[in-house]
């Protein structure tokens, strides 16, 4: 259940140009932290859904998403995640539409 919701949010944040991106990113960190298994699965699916020449780039980008993020929901940590997410989004966009 929570895995579905996380996948849905990742999809909208990465592939939709939604104006309320910040609001949508809010529950994501908590979802990742409380559903580690589902998160690993989703990552795998996101990578495999791409053509082979893009897969390595996606894997690297996903790796960076959680760099420096701790296992807590303090506001500083949440901000760090939001920054990472913005960077992730830009990176994915740049290699998806070069």
């Amino acid at each position: 259940m929570f895995g579905n919701l996380l996948a849905l949010l990742l999809e909208s944040v990465v592939y939709d140009d939604c104006p309320n991106q910040w609001a949508l990113s809010r529950p994501m960190l908590g979802l990742i932290l409380t559903n580690t298994e589902a998160y690993e699965q989703i990552k795998q699916q996101m990578i495999e859904a791409l053509p082979p020449d893009r897969q390595a780039q996606m894997a690297a980008a996903l790796e960076k998403l959680m760099t420096g993020v701790m296992r807590n929901l303090e506001s500083r940590n949440r901000d760090k995640f939001t920054q990472n997410l913005t960077a992730f989004r830009q990176e994915v966009k740049s290699f998806m539409n070069p």
Binding site: M1, L8, E11, Y15, D17, C18, P27, G30, L31, T34
Partner: protein
């Protein structure tokens, strides 16, 4: 060329507007011109302006001569657009235009005065009605243009001379009021389109006069204007002029109670006069206002009971309450102000007591229903007007326990009649709304809890009946559900109730309210819910509050209900792109955030709820989400 076009302007309203705009731009850009070169505008503009004014006048005259009893002008919106462009033109070379206008105004007024001295002029009294109508139509146009010109005072440099000219023109308008008062219908229903038009023109004039001479920036000591006005019509300062305007407005509410547009515009003017800082201070001093605060109700103001005006009742009482509370101590004791409502509510109470003993007659029911819906709209207006703590508490003390419990009895009787339940639920939604932190009772007062209990009782009484008996249509069900959602969301987020006490003392008010509103909202299929914006905007904030402040309650729900809430959140999360209302996805995301945070925190005290949540999660691992990039 311009002059010729205006001569034929009867036919083409739209092109007149663009032509006026062109000239108006030319005139307003003169200020930026450099150099000594003489501009031809000085001679052309007055010519253009005068042709425009005259041609509108002649059009009105010709229309009325051909079709007496018709409204000679286009709708007011179009007219106002034209006037806004025309007014800077009139103030360019103002002396000439003002003289020209006076030259048109005076003969029209003289003609009407001659009719007046000849005898019967009142509506429906016979006499030369057709001729009167023609002059009235002309006069209406002149009042409009004078209103626009005076209102455009800020667009040109003001000088004492210009103010005197304003004064001369306004004098004519105030004289026209005298004529209108003679003509006003003696019996309800009698009317003439030209007279109604003239009344609308006067309200337009009042609005623009207010902006130019009474508004916040306006110079209060407009001595030159008032000198002219006091010489001719006895208006010597801003208090007197406000008195004339407010008296006329109140008179409109009586005489024109069946004319929706006039009632609406009169109330707008009244509201705006009460909203301005300096004008509201003046308003408090007027006798007509102190009288209205003591004596208000359908007997004094018949517009209140006219069927076309339900919205206006609320507006009127909001304004009146604002005026009452303008002064820190209240212009009048709150109880005294509310006194006119007491007999109505007592009458209703007697009706309900009798209804318990024996079924009331159809006539008694209809009468009670009309009284109830009316007074609820009035009281909602009062409640909207109580914008601070002291006023709100006074209102609540007046209402509870004497009258508030009556709402539940009304719902028991009329739950399936949305003409009753809509104003009733809307009143409750206003009463529980803690705007400006107005709902703040003493720390020893139980009022916050009592208020919530009443709201809960009302929601339960209404909700269970609707769940079991209402057809799934917007009018019969969804609209009521959307107001219930608003009531509960506002009560839950108001911060004036400590919701912990309910379970502590075994009071079911909270769980009963949550249960019924949740059932109501989940009884609407999600596609239907999203199809009605009001229902949608009611549901998602509620779901957010549920996840944030009542997480334990949420987790302990039956799995089927819990999953429906989550599935609605999932649906809402997809509402990410305009034209969808993106606040829906923001609220859904926030709801989810709070639920996830609750699970992450895993507080020891929430063990039971967390366990329930985990069992929900375990039950729902079947359908894996397949990630597909777009």
């Amino acid at each position: 060329m311009g002059v010729q076009s205006f001569e034929s302007c009867a036919s083409a309203t739209n092109s007149v507007y663009y032509l006026l705009q062109l000239w108006s731009r030319l005139v307003t850009s003169v200020a930026y011109l450099k150099g000594e070169g003489e501009s031809h505008l000085d001679s052309y503009v007055p010519q253009v302006t005068q042709t425009y004014i005259l041609s509108k006048l002649q059009t009105a005259r010709a229309t009325l001569q051909a079709h007496p009893g018709e409204d000679p002008m286009e709708n007011e919106e179009q007219l106002v657009d034209q006037l806004d462009s025309a007014s800077p033109l009139c103030r360019y070379q103002y002396e000439q235009t003002a003289k020209f206008l006076l030259g048109l105004f005076d003969p029209a007024l003289n003609k009407l005065m001659a009719f007046a001295s000849a005898g019967n002029v009142a509506l429906g009294a016979g006499g030369p009605q057709a001729e009167i109508a023609v002059v009235e139509g002309e006069l209406a146009w002149l009042v409009y243009i004078v209103g626009a010109v005076v209102g455009a005072r800020g667009t040109s440099r003001t000088s004492d001379e210009h103010e005197e000219l304003d004064g001369d023109l306004c004098t004519r308008v105030f004289q026209a009021i005298k004529w209108v008062e003679m003509r006003q219908p003696t019996q309800p229903g009698a009317s003439a389109p030209t007279l109604e038009r003239l009344e609308l023109a006067l309200l337009y004039f009042f609005q623009y006069f207010r902006k130019a001479y009474i508004g916040e920036q306006a110079n209060i000591s407009s001595t030159s204007l008032y000198q002219r006005l006091s010489e001719s019509v006895g208006i010597s300062d801003n208090v007197t002029v406000m008195s004339v305007m407010v008296n006329k407005t109140m008179q409109n509410l009586k005489v024109w109670c069946r004319h929706e547009e006039l009632v609406d515009k009169s109330l707008v003017l009244f509201h705006e006069l009460a909203s301005g800082y300096s004008s509201s201070k003046t308003l408090c001093k007027l006798e007509v206002i102190t009288l209205a605060l003591r004596h208000h109700g359908p007997a004094q103001l018949p517009f209140l009971s006219q069927s076309g005006n339900p919205r206006h009742r609320t507006t009127f009482y909001t304004t009146l309450t604002r005026i009452l509370l303008m002064d820190d101590n209240g212009l009048l004791d709150f109880e005294l102000f509310m006194a006119p409502f007491v007999p109505v509510l007592q009458h209703l109470q007697a009706f309900f007591t009798q209804a318990e003993a024996a079924a009331p007659t159809a006539a008694a029911r209809d009468e009670a229903k009309a009284l109830l819906t009316g007074v609820l709209r009035d009281l909602r207006g009062v409640c909207v007007g109580t914008a601070n703590r002291r006023a709100y508490v006074a209102f609540f003390d007046w209402l509870y326990p004497d009258f508030l419990p009556m709402l539940v009895r009304s719902v028991e009787l009329w739950w399936n009649d949305s003409s009753v339940t809509t104003p009733l639920l809307k009143f409750m939604a206003e009463l529980v709304h803690n705007k400006c932190q107005r709902i703040a009772f003493d720390s020893s007062s139980p009022n916050g809890i009592l208020l919530f209990r009443e709201a809960s009782r009302l929601l339960a009484t209404y909700g269970h009946r609707i769940l079991n008996g209402a057809p799934p249509t917007y009018a019969d069900k969804y609209k009521g559900v959307s107001i219930c959602l608003t009531i509960l969301s506002r009560a839950l987020s108001g911060g004036y109730v400590n919701f912990g006490v309910f379970s502590l003392y075994g009071d079911t008010a909270l769980s009963a309210a949550l249960d019924v509103v949740l059932q109501l909202s989940l009884s609407i299929p999600i596609q239907e819910l999203m199809a009605y914006p009001k229902v949608m905007r009611g549901y998602f904030p509620f779901s957010e509050i549920l996840c944030h402040n009542h997480t334990t309650y949420l987790c302990m729900l039956e799995p089927a209900i819990f999953f429906q809430i989550i599935s609605n959140i999932q649906y809402g999360l997809k509402w990410v792109n305009p034209p969808h209302d993106i606040s829906v996805s923001s609220e859904s995301a926030s709801a989810l955030y709070h639920l996830v945070e609750f699970r992450f925190r895993s507080n020891k005290k929430d063990a039971q709820a967390l366990q329930a949540l985990e069992s929900h999660v375990l039950k729902n691992t079947g359908c894996a989400f397949v990630f597909e990039p777009l």
